[in-house]
Every structure is written in structure tokens, then in C-alpha cells.
């Protein structure tokens, strides 16, 4: 089912682009342009570069918390092939300073960041302590194994409970381990709950996980001593900002630093953090040694020294009436931010502000503490705080429905914001510092579409059939609203070559999203050229210097609109030049298949865009046949200058898109699970998704994003968890014990679309990159709870844990659903 687009209500919005007028590549499910190359093994990832470079390897802390008494590198220096070994003592200039606090916030009252190499104290297992540069990685690792460090172990703070208890401190000058404390309140939630006819308290816990892209991080630096310029290749989600950060750290003029992002084997958030210690140290060493240096992170390094996410404990009080209408919601949560806070408190801010989802809750109060622990730091991972937020809100909805004896879908409908209330201001300040205002969306329609897709009404019969066969099944629902396309801006450059080919560049990076395809679709649509004539470059500061990065489901919104705006400028210029050449009026011209002609007269006078591009650059020298047409004597002489006032040579333009605030996508997931009555194994039988990301540029890519997100959501709910022991050792730092789902564990995803274009941007698009993962915890917890009749208040959940819950229920613990004790059907 496809629901007809909802026209934006706001009249001051720019017009939506032309796709509804002229059929073209925009909106078409065309194959990804990048896939042939990647599938054929022709991708160029970081480790495919720099085969002649020196290799770096790092000695990393084996302790969660320890003082460095002495470092002895003598034996390591004797290893043949070792070029240099660095410890903190060797660092100089701004490299010796702590790494930057990327996102300060007034509530982050005790921010702490690490040094590139540990200074005096290490605060998590995996923190870099020494860097070895050698002729190859094998030799570098041999030398690392010979470095002797005398440690004085300190007490480790592991887990939220230990951080709250604060018997020990991660940072001595932060004795309560509290990095940040933030309260937002809309109305008087506590009074509303006290006055409500019914109330509940829930404790909800989400465990730690991690992004785990298949390609870890990597940095390769080349210093040109003659030119005094640096080129750095890095597997990042923000080459533009790495460039500025490195220029600052290394005290180089920005125009002497180029940062190039090659193909990237996944990011999922962890690669937005920058500059990583290695991202500073590798170029620093390359300059110092006047040699190329490369470091490629291995899997264990990634687990113990990159970044994690998800761990939060929440206590929720909710007041509601007999219809399940929520009157007040009071959420307190504790966020484990690990040892350092370079990325600020973005994750808990998102949890606290996105928690309400599609609902109105009367009064809302949210308070969080962000806590230091002696573990790897926490930064956004796909979903970024929303997975927890959705889990909390949707667990509340199910608990309220259970408490009132009402249908879970009906309770959700009762509490939803209606489409006629859009735009809807939740009264909160979002992660971009702007008001959290939902722009468009028809949440009841999304929910009803999901109920239809999963056949909510028909599930009673499915359950009865399963029970008759001795099987146990359950169904769950989860909704979300996702703020996407946060600013501050992106830009794009579009040029028509004299061959008629179109070159597009934008500053943000690509790690699997299909930007080479969707940005080409946008440019092709705007310029009237075939999509296969468009080539897109991302993440290369040589091609585009300014930009922010690829995170927060923002690339299609930010760079997509910038590409459209740049292409429109190019189109306008092309029509001006063509109008002069054809002696026609610009308003009469159109571009079809790369040829400018008079609208309605396809066989009349015309001029290819390639020729327009030639004419756009008046020449003195005819270096080829095409160029002859643009030389001073070939161009019809006019009285004016060859480049008219206000024009620039070249058929090219740069444009910028900078929104006033985020645009909000929404969706509903519904899942059916089967739990084995004996083994407690959990199998997802059906997984249904209804999503609304506004105008769709390429439905195939949107569905691919949803599929990937669901795979990660299922993984996060049923398989993946980061496990530290009491001493702070990460006990499952490998893909053998950190269980990412295989294809065999990922269900078939059934998808339906609702389209509510955003009035906030020219294309009407919203982000979709993170959507698929957000409801994973919530929807599978709901379905398992429904199958089992046992409250699920902690995710992820394994068969062993479900087995334990069953035993506790059988032993008489009060963990069952009320509807079970009332003898009602599980749904």
C-alpha cells in the first residue's frame, strides 16, 4: 500500500522539485551505481592504499584503570625494522594536549577527553600508551610485545551502578563520576502523575553494544616536505572536519592539508568521532619521520579502543487514565558515557528529547545523569539514543495497555498526535540546539498501515493455531519519530563538463548509503541529463572543502538539497547561455537527455549541454576541436565583455543548504516471534515495517537502508552485547563472542510506505539511515512479552535469560503480565 503524498501545509516552504512534472530518475528504484565496482572487488578501502608506507601499531592498556610508573622501550627498539617508538613524553605542540571536546554543552559540566597517548594514567582497557612505527605491521607488533610498562593498578569503575555509587572515581577531580546532568520539563509531570487515576513505575535497562563496522578505522598519511603539505587518507564519516582538526592539531595552514576518504566498509556512527588518537598520531609521525605512515585498526583494537553505545538504565513513572491516555511522564535515566566525553552528551540528549515519539503525554519531565566509567567511551551508534528512547516509551505504552486491559494498538492511537496538529512543538530543545518541532507526519495512518500489514486483528487466530500445535507465538508493536537532517549545513558543487558529463561533489562522506546513486539522481533530474552521465565524489576535501559529515540520517536531506540547489543554478546558467546561442527566450527552453531545446519543439533549434559548457568558458586557446567553438574569434562578437558582468566562466555552481531545524521521519514496526517452550530459543517469524521518510529519492535504496537497520535492530535485541567483567576487561572482544546476526538470523522484512514530504527543504525529503534500527529493542521485547506473558524490561535478551525469567515466574515472582493473571488473551 502506498498512501498518497500529503502536501505540505506551510506556505512559505520552497516548492517541491519537479519529479511530479517530468518523469526522470528522481524517485526511481534504479540500481546503485557503486555496486558493480564494490561487488567485483574493485573497491579501494584504506588498507588497499599505501603499500609502501611504514606501519604503525599501538601498545594499549591491559588495565581498566592504572597509573603508568615507567615505560621501558629498550628491548623493543632493538627489533630490526623498528623506525620509531613514541610515548606521551615525545609528543609536542598541540599534539601533546588533550583531544578536542567536539560538542560542548552547558549541561556537560565536567567534560574530559583523552590524550593521544596516555599521560600518567590509563582509564580503560585499550587506551593507547605507545606507538611503534616499523617497516611492516608484523615487526611493529613484535616490538609492541617487547615494551615493558610498570603499572600501578587503580580501582576500576565498571557499570552504571558502580559509577553512581562513586566509591571510586574515574577522574580524580570528578569524584561523583557525573559528567553531565540535564533536566528538561514541559508542564508539571510530577503533579500530573500524582493527580492521575492510575500510575505505574517501570525500571528499564538497555545494555552496552557497539557499531562494529566490518572495516575498522584506518589512517594513511603522506607528508610532502618540499610542498609542506599533508595528505591524509582516513576511514571516517567526516573528512572535512578531520581536515580542520588536523590543521589545528598539527599547526598547519588548512590549505596545506587534504583529507581523502576512500571506500569505507561501514561506519554506523563510530567513525563520526574525530580526530581519533591515531588520526592525529599517524600524520604527526609522518611529518616527523618524513615517511609515509599507515595504521589499520584490527578487530580487537576496534572493540577495546574505538567507541561503544547503548548502556542506559531508566526509571519511569507514568500517570494515565482508564482509557490509557497518558497524563504525565517522568523519566530519569543514567547514561554510561565511558571514560571520556569527546562527543559530548549527544546520545542522552537524543534519548531525552526523542523519547516521546509520536505521542502527546500531557506533562513530561526528563532528567539524566551521564556517568564516567573505566570503559571505552560512548558515542553515537546508528539509532543514537533513540533505540533506548523507543524502548522506554513503547514499554510504557504496553504496560499502560496491560494495566488498563486495553488493546495495545488502541492505547497508542489514543495517545498519538493527530495529523491536523502538525507542525507539533514538543516544547523541548533537540540535539541541534533548536526547538523540537515535528514538521509533518500522519502517525495514526502509519500505525494503521502497520496493523494492516501484520494483520493485527487476525493474530488471535494465528496464536490459537500455534497453541494447538504446542507452539508459542507473540506479536509486538513499536513506533518512533526520528529527528533527521540536523544542520548546520552541507554544500555541493555541480559542473557540466565539455563532454556533457556532469560532475557532482559534496563534502560529506559515504560509507554504504548509495550517495553516488541518489545524488546523481537528483542532479540528473534537475539538469535533464541521463543519470549515468553523472559522477559523484564525496568525502574528498580536494573536491569539496566545506561540510559537516555523514551522521544523524542527514545526507539525503543536507547534501541532497545542496546538490539540487547547485544543479538548479547550473541549469539556470545553461539556459541563459543557450538562450543567447539559440536566440530564444530562457523561459521557452527545456533540457531533455542533455540537449537544450525549445519546449514543445523537440525537432527545432537545439544545443547540447556539452556545447553550452564549452561556450560557458570563453577561450583564447583552442586546445581541442570542442574548444575552437569557444575561442574569441568563434564566439559571435558582442559589445559586452566575453564574461558578462555577474557571470563566471564555466558551467558550474556551488550551493549550500542550511535548515532552520531538523525534519522528523516516523514509522511503525510490528513483529511476530516464536519462543520455543522448551529451549527458550527466540525466532522472528515476521518483521513488518511501515516508514515515512518524506519524498523518496530512490525507493530501492530506502528499502535497503530499512533492511540493514532491521538487521542491526534484531542483532541488538537478540544477539549483540558488550560484556565487561568486574575488573574492566572486555570479555567478548571478537566476532566469535560478540554475536552479530548472520543472514540466517535476520528475518525477511515486509515494508510499506507512507509519504509525508517535509516542508522544510526543497526536495521534501527526510532521513532514513537510522530508521530501521530504532524500534528493534522495543518491538521484539513486546513480541516476546506477548508470547511469554512475562514482562520484558531489559534488552537484549538471550534464550538463557528468557529461561531464567520463566523459572522466576514459575517460582512465584511478580514478573507476569496483569492480563495473564486476569485470564485474558495475551494480546
Amino acid at each position: 500500500m502506498t498512501v498518497a503524498p500529503v502536501r505540505p501545509a506551510e506556505s512559505d516552504a520552497p516548492a517541491v522539485a519537479e519529479p511530479t512534472v517530468a518523469p526522470g530518475p528522481f524517485g526511481a528504484p534504479i540500481l546503485r551505481k557503486e555496486d558493480r565496482r564494490l561487488a567485483a572487488g574493485e573497491g579501494r578501502y584504506l588498507d588497499d592504499l599505501g603499500h609502501e608506507a611504514l606501519a604503525a601499531a599501538f601498545l594499549r592498556s591491559p588495565h581498566a584503570h592504572a597509573r603508568i610508573v615507567d615505560i621501558d622501550i629498550d628491548a623493543a627498539l632493538d627489533v630490526e625494522g623498528v623506525v620509531a617508538i613514541y610515548t606521551y613524553e615525545d609528543l609536542d605542540g598541540r599534539v601533546a594536549e588533550p583531544l578536542p571536546l567536539l560538542i560542548p554543552h552547558p549541561a556537560l559540566h565536567a567534560p574530559r577527553t583523552a590524550y593521544p597517548l596516555a599521560k600518567d594514567v590509563v582509564r580503560h582497557v585499550g587506551e593507547p600508551v605507545a606507538m611503534v612505527v616499523a617497516t611492516d605491521r608484523y615487526t611493529a607488533e613484535d616490538a609492541v610485545s617487547l615494551i615493558r610498562v610498570e603499572w600501578e593498578p587503580l580501582p576500576a569503575v565498571i557499570g552504571i551502578d558502580a559509577a553512581v555509587a562513586a566509591e571510586h572515581a574515574v577522574h580524580p577531580d570528578v569524584p561523583d563520576n557525573v559528567a553531565a546532568h540535564l533536566v528538561q520539563e514541559v508542564g508539571d509531570a510530577q503533579a500530573a502523575i500524582a493527580a492521575a487515576p492510575r500510575s505505574l513505575t517501570l525500571d528499564l535497562h538497555v545494555e552496552r553494544s557497539a557499531s562494529t563496522p566490518l572495516e575498522g578505522k584506518g589512517v594513511y598519511a603522506r607528508w610532502d616536505a618540499d610542498d609542506r603539505s599533508l595528505r591524509v587518507y582516513t576511514s571516517t564519516q567526516t573528512s572535512t572536519s578531520v581536515r580542520f582538526a588536523l590543521a589545528a592539531k598539527l599547526s598547519l595552514p588548512v590549505d596545506r592539508v587534504e583529507v581523502v576518504t576512500p571506500d569505507v566498509g561501514g561506519g554506523f556512527g563510530v567513525k563520526i568521532v574525530h580526530p581519533w588518537p591515531e588520526e592525529v598520531l599517524v600524520p604527526w609521525a609522518a611529518i616527523r619521520l618524513r615517511r609515509e605512515v599507515k595504521w589499520v585498526e584490527d578487530r580487537r583494537e576496534h572493540f577495546i579502543s574505538s567507541a561503544h553505545e547503548r548502556a542506559q538504565k531508566h526509571t519511569v513513572r507514568v500517570g494515565f487514565d482508564d482509557e490509557g491516555r497518558i497524563l504525565g511522564l517522568d523519566v530519569r535515566f543514567w547514561h554510561d558515557n565511558g571514560a571520556y566525553t569527546p562527543y559530548g552528551i549527544i546520545v542522552p540528549i537524543i534519548t531525552s528529547t526523542q523519547l516521546l515519539g509520536p505521542y502527546k503525554v500531557g506533562a513530561y519531565r526528563v532528567e539524566f545523569h551521564s556517568l564516567y566509567t573505566n570503559t571505552v567511551m560512548v558515542t553515537p551508534y546508528r539509532g543514537a539514543g533513540r533505540v533506548h528512547a523507543c524502548f522506554v516509551m513503547e514499554r510504557v505504552m504496553d504496560a499502560v495497555a496491560d494495566h488498563c486491559g486495553l488493546d495495545r494498538a488502541q492505547v497508542r492511537l489514543t495517545n498519538m498526535i493527530r495529523p491536523e496538529e502538525m507542525p507539533y512543538d514538543q516544547g523541548l530543545i533537540f540535539q541541534d540546539g533548536r526547538p523540537l518541532i515535528y514538521d509533518t507526519g500522519d502517525f495514526p495512518r502509519s500505525l494503521r498501515a502497520a496493523l494492516d500489514l501484520v494483520d493485527w486483528e487476525g493474530f488471535a487466530a494465528v496464536r490459537a493455531q500455534a497453541q494447538a500445535e504446542g507452539r508459542r507465538v507473540g506479536i509486538g508493536l513499536a513506533t518512533y519519530v526520528e529527528g533527521t537532517g540536523v544542520g548546520p549545513y552541507e554544500g555541493a558543487y555541480v559542473r557540466v563538463e565539455t563532454t556533457g558529463d556532469v560532475v557532482v561533489a559534496t563534502g560529506l562522506t559515504t560509507q554504504g548509503q548509495g550517495h553516488a546513486t541518489v545524488f546523481a539522481q537528483i542532479a540528473a533530474q534537475e539538469l535533464g541529463v541521463p543519470v549515468d552521465r553523472v559522477t559523484v565524489t564525496t568525502g574528498d576535501t580536494r573536491r569539496f572543502k566545506y561540510g559537516v559529515g555523514t551522521f544523524a540520517s542527514r545526507a539525503a536531506v543536507m547534501s541532497g538539497n545542496a546538490v539540487a540547489l547547485a544543479a538548479r543554478k547550473v541549469r539556470a546558467k545553461a539556459l541563459r547561455i543557450a538562450a543567447a546561442a539559440l536566440a530564444a527566450d530562457e523561459s521557452e527552453l527545456t533540457i531533455v537527455d542533455g540537449v537544450v531545446s525549445v519546449r514543445g519543439f523537440p525537432d527545432g533549434p537545439s544545443i547540447p549541454l556539452a556545447t553550452v559548457a564549452v561556450l560557458a568558458n570563453p577561450l583564447r586557446y583552442a586546445f581541442d576541436e570542442e574548444a575552437k567553438r569557444a575561442t574569441q574569434f568563434a564566439v559571435p562578437a558582442t559589445d559586452g565583455p566575453p564574461v558578462p558582468e555577474g557571470e563566471e566562466p564555466g558551467l558550474e555552481a556551488t550551493a549550500w543548504y542550511s535548515p532552520v531545524r531538523s525534519t522528523f521521519a516516523n514509522g511503525v514496526h510490528a513483529a511476530v516471534v516464536e519462543t520455543d517452550p522448551e529451549t527458550a530459543e527466540i525466532r522472528v517469524l515476521r518483521y513488518c515495517v511501515v516508514h515515512d521518510c518524506g519524498t523518496v529519492i530512490n525507493p530501492m535504496i530506502v528499502e535497503g537502508q530499512v533492511h540493514g537497520g532491521v538487521a542491526q535492530g534484531v542483532g541488538g535485541a537478540l544477539y549483540e552485547r558488550i560484556v565487561y567483567d568486574e575488573s574492566g576487561q572486555l570479555v567478548n572482544a571478537s566476532f566469535m563472542d560478540f554475536l552479530m546476526p548472520y543472514a540466517s538470523e535476520v528475518p525477511t522484512v515486509e515494508i510499506d510506505h507512507v509519504t509525508s514530504p517535509s516542508p522544510l527543504n526543497p526536495l521534501g525529503v527526510k532521513g532514513v539511515g537510522e530508521a530501521g534500527v530504532i524500534p528493534g529493542h522495543a518491538v521484539l521485547a513486546a513480541a516476546i512479552e506477548d508470547a511469554e506473558g512475562i514482562r520484558i524490561d531489559r534488552m537484549p535478551i538471550s534464550p538463557a535469560e528468557l529461561f531464567d525469567l520463566r523459572r522466576r515466574l514459575a517460582a512465584g515472582e511478580d514478573i507476569g503480565l496483569r492480563r495473564r493473571s486476569r485470564g485474558e488473551g495475551p494480546s
Binding site: D142, R299, A680, L739, Y742, S744, P799, A800, F803, R807
Partner: protein, 304 residues
């Protein structure tokens, strides 16, 4: 994750391999499929001075020898070759090569299909898995259940070690320095018997949280004469349990057999499963495998 440097030998004959192994003793490790050894090297959890790559010894070691009593699996036979011959699923194993293959005991074929994933089964060897002696692995349990043995060759000769003496501890086998495991012998099941393999793993292809290989034999009257099971992931080595007392004669009670097995295993907690859950699974899987094995035994006896 790069291994420390090591010497590398690639002998052309078993005799040459044995002489290299004799020379280096405990400093040498044998490289066959490499599915466990290479990760251990890369993580620097193993640092042998010398690797002895036996992959050129196919003429001597990549062989399946069968007779009516047993199948002898050479040290270079890959899992995939055994998994392909799956008597219980006749849709696989129809190629020309397979037709010429030895007939694999059903339990061995069934269990081999639970070993990791196709890419690992293409490379990893059955004998290598036995020598690795992981108590969570499938094949040690199968060898133990069927009363098989491993042939260990050295410059001093060859000795045959029965399964119950071969698995010494977690990741510890009876293989001595200087020895090469050249083959494992899996005896065929007795007439009027049936077997089954079942396991619960977190993901398809993972090491089992608990697994069981179970065999039932019937007497001439179609009654259960014996029932035995070998369990994996419930102790430092695979654990063999005689279930006959619970299911003999006409009173077949697999729940009772499960309780009997539960009393004889000592599983541990780890991050994937608690000991209590593992013990519970021992009961469930005993019944599930037992019912299937019994049905197969009756089928084999023409008594279905």
C-alpha cells in the same frame, strides 16, 4: 593481529613431516585446515617456532577408507566432504564424486553439518577438529560415542588412541610432541540401531551451547537394548553417558534419560548461557535426539 615470525615447512611425504616434527618437538604445530590455528597465531595466543604444513600430503592423507566395520578419515579430509554425504537427506550428495565416496556413518555426516559454516567446512579438517579437542566441538563427541580412535604417527611408529583416552582436557588431546594425527576411525553403528545429533547454538553455525550425539540400539524383539549419548559444551571434554537404564525394554522414558544425563554433566556459566540453562538443555536435547534416534533405529530394523 599479526602472528610473530615462525619457521615454515611444507613436507612432501608423511615420513618427511614426521622427521620435521621429531626435530622440533613441542615447538612445532601442524597446519592442515588452519581454521583454529591461524586465528590463534594472529591473536598471538599460540607462537610455535615452526609450522609444518601438511597440505601437500594429499596422496597419503586426503583419503577416506571404508570397510564394513568402520570409516577411516585421513588427516586432510575436509569437513565438507563428510557433510556432503548425508544419508538422511538424499537431495544432497548426488554428484559423481560423491557416488564414488565412501559411505559415511549417518551420525558423522549429520554432526558434521553442524560444524561452523560452509566456508569453514570447505577448509577445516575432521581430524584437525578432533586434535583441537574443543569440548564445544561436534566431532569429538561423535568419535567418543561411536567408540572411535585416532592414529598418531611419529618417527617411532604409529599408535592408535581410543577416543575415551584421546580427549584429555579443554583444547588438550593425547597427541604428543613429534606426533602427527594421520587419521581417525569412526566405527559403523551396529545393526538395528539409530542415531541423532541435536544442538542449540546462539546463531546458525556457532559453537553449541549444548549438543548431543545419541545412539539407540534395539534387540531382536524391537526393544531398546542400549542407549548412549555424548554431550558437548557441558564439561572440559565431551561427556559420555549411558542412558540404557532409563530407556531399556518397553518403558522408554526420554524425560528420565534426560534427568540421568543432567546428573552426569557439569556445565559452566559463560556470557552466552548459564550453567542452569545448559543443564536444562541437556534434558531437552536428550529427549529430542532420543526420540529421533529411536525412530531411526526402528526404521533400520524394519519396525517403524
Amino acid at each position: 593481529m599479526k602472528p610473530p615470525s615462525f619457521g615454515y615447512h611444507r613436507p612432501q611425504t608423511v615420513a618427511e613431516a614426521l622427521s620435521v616434527l621429531a626435530r622440533y618437538g613441542p615447538d612445532a604445530k601442524v597446519l592442515a585446515g588452519g581454521q583454529s590455528l591461524i586465528p590463534l597465531l594472529n591473536m598471538r595466543l599460540a607462537a610455535p617456532k615452526v609450522l609444518v604444513d601438511i597440505n601437500r600430503l594429499g596422496a597419503e592423507l586426503d583419503r577416506l577408507d571404508e570397510d564394513e566395520q568402520a570409516v577411516r578419515v585421513g588427516a586432510l579430509v575436509r569437513h565438507a566432504r563428510l557433510a556432503r554425504r548425508t544419508p538422511s537427506t538424499s537431495t544432497t550428495g548426488t554428484s559423481m564424486a560423491d557416488a564414488a565416496e565412501a559411505s559415511i556413518p549417518p551420525l558423522l555426516a549429520e554432526a558434521t553439518r553442524y560444524v561452523a559454516h560452509p566456508t569453514i567446512r570447505n577448509r577445516g579438517t575432521t581430524v584437525g577438529s578432533l586434535v583441537h579437542a574443543d569440548p564445544a566441538a561436534e566431532l569429538p563427541a561423535v568419535l567418543l560415542l561411536c567408540g572411535g580412535s585416532v592414529e598418531l604417527a611419529s618417527v617411532h611408529g604409529t599408535r592408535t588412541v581410543p577416543a575415551e583416552q584421546f580427549f584429555v582436557g579443554p583444547l588438550q588431546s593425547a597427541l604428543a610432541p613429534g606426533e602427527l594425527a594421520v587419521a581417525a576411525t569412526f566405527p559403523r553403528p551396529p545393526a538395528r540401531s539409530g542415531s541423532a545429533f541435536r544442538e542449540v547454538s546462539r546463531r546458525a553455525g556457532d559453537y553449541a551451547l549444548v549438543g548431543v550425539a545419541l545412539q539407540v540400539a534395539l534387540d531382536g524383539d524391537g526393544q531398546v537394548a542400549s542407549a548412549r549419548a555424548a554431550y558437548l559444551s557441558v564439561g572440559p571434554t565431551p561427556v559420555l553417558v549411558d542412558l540404557t537404564d532409563a530407556v531399556h525394554g518397553s518403558t522408554v522414558d526420554w524425560e528420565d534419560a534426560g534427568r540421568l544425563a543432567q546428573s552426569q554433566v557439569e556445565p559452566d556459566d559463560d556470557i552466552h548461557a548459564s550453567a542452569a540453562y545448559r543443564r536444562h538443555l541437556v534434558g531437552v536435547l536428550t529427549r529430542r535426539a532420543g526420540e529421533v534416534a529411536l525412530a531411526r533405529a526402528r526404521e533400520a530394523s524394519g519396525d517403524a
